[in-house]
Amino acid sequence: MPDQRPVPDPLPDPLSDHGAAGAVVVDGLTWRPYGRAAVVLDGVSFALPPGRRVLLAGASGSGKSTLLRALAGVLESAGAGEASGSVRVDGADPAAAPGSVGLVLQEPGSAVVASSLERDTAFGLENLQTPPEVMRPAVRAALEAVGLTMPTDSSTLALSGGEQQRLALAGALVMHPDVLLLDEPTAMLDDETAQVVRSVVDAVVRERGLTLVVAEHRLGPWVDLVDDLLVLGAGGAVLAFGPVQEVLASHGPSLLAEGVWVPGAPDPVPAHLDVVAGIPAVGMPPAGAATMTAEQVTVVHRTRTLHGTPRTTTAVDAASLEVRAGRTTALVGPSGSGKSSLLGVLAGLVRPTAGTVTAHRDLAPEPTRTDPANWSSAELAAAVAWVPQNATRSFVADTARGELLATSAALGRDIEPLRARADSVLEILGLAGAADTDPRRLSSGEQRRLAVAAALFHAPALVLADEPTVGQDRQTWSVVMGLVDGARRRGAAVAMSTHDPVVIGSADAILALTAAPRGGPQPQAARTLVERVGPLASLAAVLLLLPLPALVHSVRQALAALAVETLWAVVALAAPGPGLRPTGRVRRLVARLAAPALGAVFVGWSSWLLGGHDLTIALVAALRVLALVAPGAIVLPYVDPDALGDQLCRWLRLPARPVVAAGAVLSRFQALTVLWAEISAIRRVRGVADGRGSVARFRQLAATTVALLTGALASATTLAVAMDARGFASVRRRTWLHPAVWRPGDLVALLAGLSVVLTAAAF
């Protein structure tokens, strides 16, 4: 045993209080968000004894999520409004006892606050000022309870959707809640993964005797795991509450009519819809012809982590597929099997690493140009409809009507006669009153319907949709599948990635993909010396160089400084000790030095212009800048932002909440770069990304930035709710899982910085 000291344990033993805590009493709870005329919750009253398991059902928009937030005491985190009535958990306000109620949200990954499993799990305990020696075993136990058995310092970025949901569960369980709230926890997961998450939930809830409230609109899989069913009506009032089978018998038909997936009900059927009528189709191949053909396509993704370590994953491995006109192809397979990437390849948005993609000649802008990856934005848009999994991100216009017309306008079609058609399509979609509403303000089901219709409106010959029915109620399911089927009947080739058995059952062809084997645990490489230096010391060492511009006045001085820096760089990047040699150090160094070198050339050139075309002046100016900025390029990739946050709070006494919030958002840096790529792809396939010249390019950058901001801010509310549910709102002081220690390397780094400055001064 590494630690023989008795461990203080302020946390209650999860089994000793079995059944004793977790009584929930809701009395007359009413909630109206400011700016809304109607209440979202209307006089909700019910009581749950400890350990009761309840399924919460209701139509989309009936206030299920709002009720869960109220139970967790974080209603105000997601929006200001007027509340009356009360929520009591064991007689107390849940907001006053952070951690007593755990909350898991729908979107996998939306609640991740740190870049490693252990840091993320420990977040709530840190907010409660739990001592580190108590936290460490608690974190390990929580991760074990949800079956996350990889090393606890693994990156949260490498998790699958199901693993992310289990991590969120661990983050709630580690605080030893008496009540567990799950907001559609499996809506975005495939059946197998969802089953794993459900059985983990079932196991921990039974073992710990937790009170459980699950909001879901697919009731079937949960019915056997709960005691009661609580039904919310469209107006936010309780319609029924009682034993699950009884309530299903009495309220099943009305729930079904509201679009809830009631167990035992017949599968929904696609509505008979056609939103492209009246608009001539372009380049539609004859029925049965291969509209798009992929042969032996392989896609290898290189992702850059925050630390700059590139990771490569094989998303698609030598897949072949023909998508035929007037037919539907379903792409099936577990999460991570490359369904989305393959769709991206067919859409000309992802250039395959190997293999070929060939469009039917009727689609191709010229007979010889059949590879969609080489088409312009407008050429691609004319042929392809693309519906991404996240509908919110698919929008390129600021009104619902504009969204329908955007691609037609970009293709240069006459918009005026299409307006009336657009309005009638909005009526078909149930969006009659929303023609001038910003599409991002619509509900999730409305967004989904609009996104599919907007992709199809201009009658493209190839329709590609990524999980178009996931997480939707029966009504939206019916509209979405009706829209896609309408396009197919007009001769379009359709390919969809899906986990939905009804969609798979109605497809003409099925392509099953298998998940590429996940690389096992990477062999531990020896760490470079610079990685063994604390982040604050690394930054301080580089900032010590700031006097260089004032000191360096000759080529000799600049070269001397650069020589010392080179020496230190060799030391910094050495990786002595056992373990594999880290790879790619030199390649990455060269790549990262390219930008500073360019900057130095720019400054040198500018000085040359000014300094009467004197080469020496230019050279000094260039070398001076290089000596100043190059060390940063070497050190920065190795700075661990989480560890930096720790040190900023504890050593520099920066306030904890902003630093922790910045760390939480920084851990999503990679998600934001993915979002950026996704927005660019959407704009390309919708036809609005063309145009050369500075003005067009600046407009592109501006539009992408607005979309990026909007997309990023949309997740801010969810993240704030997730953080407050784990006690972040009331933090004044907090503890940290990891110690902030001063290492010998820190002193060496500072001396290195100093030595460069002294060298420059001495020469």
Binding site: A80, R624, A662, F669, L709, A720
Partner: protein, 219 residues
């Protein structure tokens, strides 16, 4: 225009036509922190992209008159202005601009860690702009002021770090150009950007989103 404080339908106070952050101003809600951090990180990404795209126009302008490079430097001042306009609390501009600078270094920049100092100086400048107005005005005028004031500290810093060989005339010209461009590009465009994002509903939890609703109710 009335300058008295009023309670609004959103429960927040307004002064004149602006919805202000909830009091006390220094008490940040989690959503305020998270939104500022998201602004910082998203702008950091855009800053990095601009760091690649700006070279051509900047070189062209420098050929005409080197201090004109201030024009292409101004987009880097925008995060502070937008952070202040959106969150409306003391420190928001500094937080957003500093974080944006940090994030723009991550994929690698021409300027290394010196960008961190720039971010701090630009953020402090924008912060001064909002502070002068008592954190009570967030219209176009406030945006222009914050944008303009983002520039001077940064310009002086650059004199010593990048433009050591310039004579005083060039240096002053650079300061003036960066300040004017900061007002127009960072301030003006930042103001438009904030309004554009508010219209999408993404700022409904924050004063600009509530302001939009107030005006819709009033109309």
């Amino acid at each position: 225009m009335s300058t008295t404080s009023n309670r609004t339908a959103t429960g927040l106070t307004t002064r004149g036509r602006y919805v202000l952050a909830s009091r006390p101003l220094a008490r940040w809600r989690t959503i305020d922190l998270v939104v500022t951090a998201f602004l910082g990180v998203a702008f950091g990404l855009a800053y990095w992209a601009w760091g690649i795209a700006y070279a051509a126009p900047s070189t062209a302008l420098s050929t005409i008159f080197p201090p004109l490079a201030g024009i292409t430097g101004a987009p880097w001042l925008m995060a502070g202005v937008v952070g202040g306009l959106v969150v409306r609390r003391p420190g928001a501009a500094l937080f957003a601009e500093t974080l944006a600078a940090v994030v723009s270094m991550i994929p690698g920049t021409k300027w290394g860690v010196e960008v961190l100092i720039s971010g701090l100086l630009q953020g402090i400048g924008a912060e001064i702009g909002f502070a002068i107005l008592g954190y009570a005005a967030f219209g176009l005028g406030a945006a222009l002021l914050a944008g303009a004031l983002s520039a001077p500290l940064e310009a002086v810093y650059e004199w010593f770090v990048y433009w050591t060989d310039w004579d005083l005339g060039y240096k002053v010209a650079y300061l003036a150009i960066l300040t004017a461009a900061g007002a127009v590009i960072a301030g003006g465009l930042g103001y438009l950007l904030t309004r554009g994002v508010a219209r999408t509903g993404a700022l409904d939890m924050l004063p600009p989103g509530q302001e939009l609703r107030e005006h819709a109710l009033g109309a």
